[in-house]
């Protein structure tokens, strides 16, 4: 007698990308395959400076478990990372450090700004605090909250996955992207 399964019956599997399928083969565009591979194996670099970092630890721990989305491999070397997760207040003096970390990451790279402080300076409307990390580096997804709950961080992470999955392979060499980096003073 088979065991009745009561829980987790509504599991969704990822839809395959549009393409031509036949016996033992599937043809689709390289872009979509690369997107699938990239988005389900993101290596995050946690840049945690305050309470949002604590929420991130909860997100990475067993209960919320960011590993479910293929991101259990926290990298502490910027060279091997795909996603810079900035969590917490960034003071003006730390701005160049954050920028340096971003510059050390290899393309393609994404940035997730977690919490009110990283997004806008938050309550620290003062002379020593950077009013949002987008003053020094380009940001892909903003997660609001003070601090955001782990669910919010996961939601932001899923948004990043969405972006990565849909990104064109030509984006990083496009004029628009170069202009964006140029506006931040990155060659």
């Amino acid at each position: 007698m088979s065991r009745p399964v009561q829980y987790n019956t509504k599991l969704k599997t990822v839809e395959p990308p549009a393409g031509v399928m036949g016996d033992g083969f599937m043809a689709t565009s390289l872009e979509k395959v690369v997107g699938l591979a990239r988005k389900n194996s993101i290596w995050p670099l946690p840049f945690a400076t305050s309470c949002c970092g604590i929420e991130f630890m909860a997100t990475a721990a067993s209960h919320y478990d960011i590993a479910r989305f293929g991101a259990e491999r926290m990298s502490f070397s910027p060279r091997q990372c795909d996603l810079l997760m900035v969590m917490g207040t960034i003071s003006k003096k730390m701005g160049p450090v954050l920028r340096q970390v971003y510059l050390q990451m290899a393309e393609p790279r994404w940035v997730l700004s977690v919490g009110a402080c990283a997004c806008s300076g938050g309550i620290f409307d003062t002379y020593s605090v950077l009013q949002g990390i987008d003053q020094v580096i380009p940001v892909d997804v903003y997660v609001p909250g003070c601090p955001p709950r782990p669910e919010a961080i996961l939601d932001g992470f899923l948004k990043i996955q969405e972006l990565i999955g849909q990104e064109s392979l030509r984006r990083r060499t496009s004029e628009k992207y170069k202009d964006l980096l140029e506006s931040y003073g990155i060659q």
Binding site: K92, S120, Y127
Partner: protein
Amino acid sequence: MSLTNELIQQKLIEKFGDQLTDWVQPYGMLTFTAPKELNLKILQFLYDDPECKFQFLTDLQAVHYPEKKGAELAVVYHLHNLTDNVRIRFKVFTDITEPDVYSATALYSSANFMERETYDFFGVNFLGHPNLIRILNVDEMDYFPMRKEFPLEDQSRVDKDDEMFGRG
């Protein structure tokens, strides 16, 4: 306790006379004001005196009194006698347009970072300091943030995107 506030006060008055003013003892802590030219002499006297023995500089910082014209900046020294566990403090006042005060680094090594911090936030120019540069704030900063000369919210700031805060 062998070393009383009265004894310290008496010794200081014997040495420096009526140049020291505003003697008060809030919460039992002897406090007085001195002319800024005398700060090193007083520190040296309190350090060397066999009974005072104030050989530990607990804290050094500044206060800005915008309403005291000609004596806007006060530099406050907190001293501790570790033998008798007695603390005192004294202030020297200086004009904000000419904020020069002699550095205590030759006497207390701990004054080095504290004077740098005081310079960083209040712009007190410590004469004779070996390395008077900003310590906590960014080097590019061209103002002294703890002076009471800024409006609570500066509308001329460009590093704040007003539209995001309903001020656009």
